[in-house]
Amino acid sequence: MAHIVTPLDQPSNYKDSQSRVDRQMQSDLLSKTSTLYVGNLSFYTTEEQIYELFSKCTTSEDGGGIKRIIMGLDRNTSHAEALACLRYISGTKLDERIIRCDLDLGYRDGRQFGRGKSGGQVRDEHRQDYDPGRGGWGAQAQRAEIERRREVEERYNDAQDVPGAVAGGGGDWKDVSENPLKRARSPDDEGEGGRGEPRAKVEEPEHDPGRM
């Protein structure tokens, strides 16, 4: 029924700056992908919160479900489910922030950190506001990113060689999806009673010239 209105489940023009495949190839991959990029999450949002919301778009009778959440992306089993997320969830709130969903090419090492040129989040490269939900100022966020990256690398390192660790997939693009932002929890912050007051948040005026 696309005659009257544009469906919301079209992939955006946001592209992965680090991707080595050409545009045509990217769009072919996107037309089949079951990987979803979730943007503008708070660093404090947990994977379980993501799971809770996105599982509302899954159809378990069709053998679907969320396979994996990788620091900011979220992998469903079917393309249809990923499209449903675009139609129903993108632009609504999770953890009191308006989140953005987009189709993603799929997981590859390094992909979990974002689609920006520096390897981090495009948004955070250009952001000039103070956003406590995303590590403060843009530059601060980038420093935090380096730390986070180190920790995540460690975490996913040993998952790779276990049989069945990554459900299927092939070639360069591993069949896993990801979720590029999330607070890197160090073991230290477990003890402080978790999340409390410092969750003040700023409604974002999006400074996002990187999103093209």
Binding site: M1, I4, P7, E48, L53, S60, G91, D158, G164, D208
Partner: protein, 878 residues
């Protein structure tokens, strides 16, 4: 603020990165103008658009038709105006040579598109075309007789014995809506048999004399009415607050007929009425034959055999009554909009809010600030309440809504964002009304969806809700549906947010532990052996440290084996159970930091988990039900305070085949109440158990349908290959005359054989899951029947006294509710011949006597679900 950047971004895109808009041909522009007609003022734009079409040179009938086709089938609210536009296209000759009016040419072309919709079984499009033709009949473009014959063709579909209930319903709606619009014109010719059309609709409503299926999908549950179906086909007192859609259509037709369809003019806009009548012959629609249904291959679990019962929240003076002509067509329009614009909820919200523009003046209360309109007798409804009620009624459709709940939820969110001042209060009122209905028998599944909607909605609006108005209800018994709702809504909110945040939104009276609204402690894992005083603390620490240090699975197994030898002398309980408990709890404990940590933990130790699930440690073996039960109990213990984690973990355990869906079902019935709720007896069934059960059933069913799709694809592949081989052979023969008979790949490929065998296995698994579920329910329901008082929960007398019910009465009521939900949700699986026989034999063996009132209630629900004849014997109802 979000709107702002969305707009900006869209503009940004276009300029920089999309190719500049391709050149629009005059044809494309004409089509667009037809489709987008009426954005400003429908009445004024009509003559202008007609002019534009006439002046378009050369005349392009297909383009104009396409505009009409898209307009009519995707914008039902504009159909009366499209009819008016088509009528205007009759007014001028196309040219001096072509005398056939343009309108007639377009209509002939449109007819072809209609035939295609029918051939494709596109029922909604077909029905909307019928609207269009019906308006044209009133506009005196189409002859009343041929319109009647069109409706008569749909009547034949209804009366055809081979038609399914779903197909008959869709055909009946074509008849009903066509008559509603065109009845006044058809009624003028006394030779046309309108009563025959109406009685055809009636036959669908009455459902051929079987048990009324609406008893199973009615949003308001009165168990005594269900049991009453034993002695009377029609319920004595139809529960209120809901309308069965086709019954509404029937009442509408009967009311219209009684007054010779005079009300039609008051129900739908008829902008073409003022036009002068056309000279010459009216257009005759051709006779049609609706092609029979095609059985689709591999459709597991056919849907749509249920009557549509929409919940009604507001009174007739607030929202239109669907049993009146105007109320019916209005809701039909709104539901079509919901379905058509599912692809873009934001546009859908906009169109819904603009709907009054297309309705008759005075239909909705005018907004403050707008020029006052003369109030129309019996109308002046509230737009926002009507929209929210319609959306909710679609979301609460049983057994399943057309789209996922989250669509309707997101749509309501968009409406609220678009007009917070007016939609916000409508949402609030709807929540209060539904909350009130919880005490009057609102279906358990609807209550479940209601809590889900509530939580997601609040999550989008800062979790602001006036909880304090429900404080008095804390005096109700803990298992009262309203108290359950409060608990559930808060739990769901916490899943989307976090404990302290939600606690701050609640009044003090609700945060106290006695209120049982909010869990005392924030959700999180419990590790039984954490306490240093625990007898097994040391043992557990040892295992925990190994896992934490990412020891190899083999090393952990060795350690466990040695522990087994050491402990067997000192421990009194079953040593294997103990080790399983400690190991699984430890594993979850190291994986408790996030979903990813958890996945990594179990993936690393899959070999160990598989052995444990077989009742072993370092050896593999065949599945052990006891061992699997232990594993699941350990999971539930760790995540007792975060129940959704139990769902997530079970899902992964099933995915990695540590446990099977049958194990999950068995555990859900037998162990869940004990492990999680701390009950001694597990003879009740709750909403969370339903979540577990559904996950297991869907997993088993999903495996079968995935496998069937795979076999179908492989078969297709094999057939193609065989065809290619044959083609090559014959080509070879033609060329050199002697056939090279290769060892042709006759028969199946090994993959295909393997895939077929897998289906057999999965089929058995599916049956086992259904059987285990039936056993579980029978265990609850057949035992319940022994308690005299609880058994009487089903009687009408007791129901009226429900204000004084104790917990056990509500629990029994809820358990029946979930059984009813199971039966209707999975009826397509249950009614398969051999499955049905197996399950019925099981039921017969469990119930003490078929005359028992619980046994009878069970029978009615079961028979409706599997489509059996009513069970009329022994009408003496106690």
């Amino acid at each position: 603020m979000s709107y702002h950047h969305h707009h900006r971004r869209r503009g940004h895109h276009k300029g920089d990165y999309e190719r500049p808009d391709y050149y629009e041909t005059p044809e494309q522009r004409l089509r667009k103008n037809i489709v987008q007609y009426g954005e400003v003022d429908p009445a004024q734009e009509l003559p202008r658009l007609a002019n534009q079409i006439f002046e378009h040179a050369p005349t392009n009938v297909p383009t104009v038709t396409e505009g009409f086709r898209i307009g009519v089938t995707e914008q039902p609210f504009k159909i009366p105006y499209y009819a008016a536009l088509l009528r205007l296209l009759y007014d001028r000759p196309v040219s001096e040579e072509v005398t056939t009016p343009l309108g007639r040419q377009v209509l002939e072309d449109f007819w072809k598109a209609f035939r295609e919709f029918i051939d494709k079984h596109a029922w909604r499009e077909t029905r909307l075309c019928v609207h269009f033709f019906a308006h044209l009949t009133v506009a005196r473009v189409i002859s009343a007789k041929s319109m009647y014959e069109l409706l008569d063709a749909f009547k034949e579909v209804i009366l055809n014995i081979g038609s399914s209930h779903d197909r008959s319903t869709k055909a009946a709606l074509c008849v009903a809506e066509g008559l509603l619009i065109a009845g006044s014109a058809i009624n003028e010719d006394p030779s046309l048999d309108i009563p025959a059309l109406i009685s055809a609709v009636q036959t669908v409503v009455e459902g051929g004399g079987g048990l009324p299926t609406k008893l199973l999908v009615h949003p308001i549950v009165h168990l005594h009415e269900i049991r009453g179906a034993f002695i009377r086909a029609e319920p004595k007192n139809e529960p209120e607050h809901a309308e069965e859609w086709l019954s509404c259509a029937l009442s509408v037709l009967q009311a219209l007929k009684a007054k010779d369809f005079a009300q039609s003019a008051d129900s739908v806009p008829q902008p073409y009425l003022d036009y002068p009548s056309l000279p010459g012959e009216l257009f005759d629609l051709e006779a049609i034959l609706v092609p029979p249904e095609v059985e689709e291959d591999g459709t597991e679990g056919k849907k749509g055999e249920w009557s549509q019962c929409y919940v009604r929240i507001f009174d007739d003076d607030i929202t239109p009554d669907p049993t009146t002509p105007v109320g019916f067509i209005l809701r039909s329009n709104l539901i079509d909009i919901l379905d058509i614009f599912e692809v873009n909820r934001k546009e859908c919200a906009r169109l819904l809010l603009e709907y009054p523009k297309w309705a008759l003046p005075g239909t909705f209360k005018s907004k403050s600030g707008a020029p006052p309109q003369s109030p129309t007798e019996g109308k002046g409804w509230d737009l926002e309440n009507t929209l929210i009620e319609t959306i909710l009624s679609a979301m609460f459709l049983l057994p399943e809504s057309t789209h996922k709940s989250i669509y309707y939820i997101a749509l309501i969110t968009e409406l609220c964002k678009a007009q917070p001042q007016s939609v916000g209060p409508a949402v609030g009122k709807s929540i209060r009304k539904l909350y009130a209905l919880l005490a009057d028998g609102l279906d358990v599944e609807i209550a479940h969806r209601f809590a889900d909607w509530f939580a997601v909605h609040m999550s989008n609006f800062n979790f602001i809700w006036v909880w304090k108005e429900w404080i008095p209800d804390l005096a109700l018994v803990p298992q009262h549906p309203r108290r359950k709702f409060m608990r559930q809504a808060v739990e769901y909110e916490i899943r989307l947010s976090y404990h302290d945040r939600i606690m701050r939104t609640l009044p003090e009276a609700m945060t106290e532990s006695t209120a049982q609204v909010l869990a005392v402690a924030a959700p999180g894992p419990d590790f039984e052996y954490e306490d240093a005083a625990h007898a097994q603390h040391e043992t557990a620490q040892g295992i925990l440290n190994l896992l934490r240090g990412r020891a190899k699975p083999d090393d952990v197994m060795l350690h466990l084996e040695s522990l087994r030898n050491q402990l067997s002398e000192t421990v009194t309980e079953n040593i294997d159970t103990l080790l399983r408990k400690i190991t699984v709890q430890s594993l979850l404990s190291i994986g408790s930091r996030s979903f990813s940590h958890f996945l990594n933990a179990i993936e690393r130790y899959l070999p160990l988990l598989r052995n444990l699930a077989a009742g072993q440690i370092s050896a593999s073996g065949s599945p052990s039900a006891e061992a699997r039960g232990d594993i699941m109990s350990a999971v539930a213990l760790v995540w007792r305070r975060s129940k959704h984690m139990v769902l997530i973990v079970f899902d992964k355990l099933m995915q990695y085949q540590i446990v099977d869906p049958t194990d999950v079902v068995a555990w859900t019935f037998m162990h869940y109440p004990k492990v999680v709720d701390g009950r001694k007896e597990g003879k009740v069934f709750t909403g969370f158990q339903w979540d577990l059960l559904k996950a297991a059933l869907d997993k088993a069913n999903g495996r079968v349908s995935v496998q069937k799709r795979k076999v179908a694809a492989l078969t297709r592949e094999a057939d193609e290959r065989a065809a290619r081989v044959r083609a090559n052979e014959s080509a070879a023969m033609e060329v050199d005359g002697d056939a090279q008979l290769d060892a042709a790949p006759a028969g199946e490929t090994p993959q295909l054989t393997a895939a077929r065998n897998a289906i057999d296995v999965l089929d058995r698994e599916q049956k086992a899951v259904l059987r285990r579920t039936m056993e579980g329910f029978l265990d609850c329901l057949a035992v319940l029947s022994i308690d005299k008082e609880v058994q009487e929960a089903m009687s009408e007398h007791k129901w009226h006294n429900r204000a004084n019910w104790e917990d056990k009465m509500w629990e029994a009521w809820e358990t029946w509710g979930w059984f009813r939900n199971w039966a209707r949700t999975y009826s397509s699986y249950l009614s398969k011949h051999d499955t049905k026989e197996m399950l019925e034999a099981l039921a017969t063996s469990k119930f003490p006597s078929p005359d028992h009132s619980a046994a009878r209630q069970f029978r009615v629900i079961w028979n409706i679900a599997v489509g059996d004849e009513p069970y009329w014997d022994n009408p003496e109802d106690p």
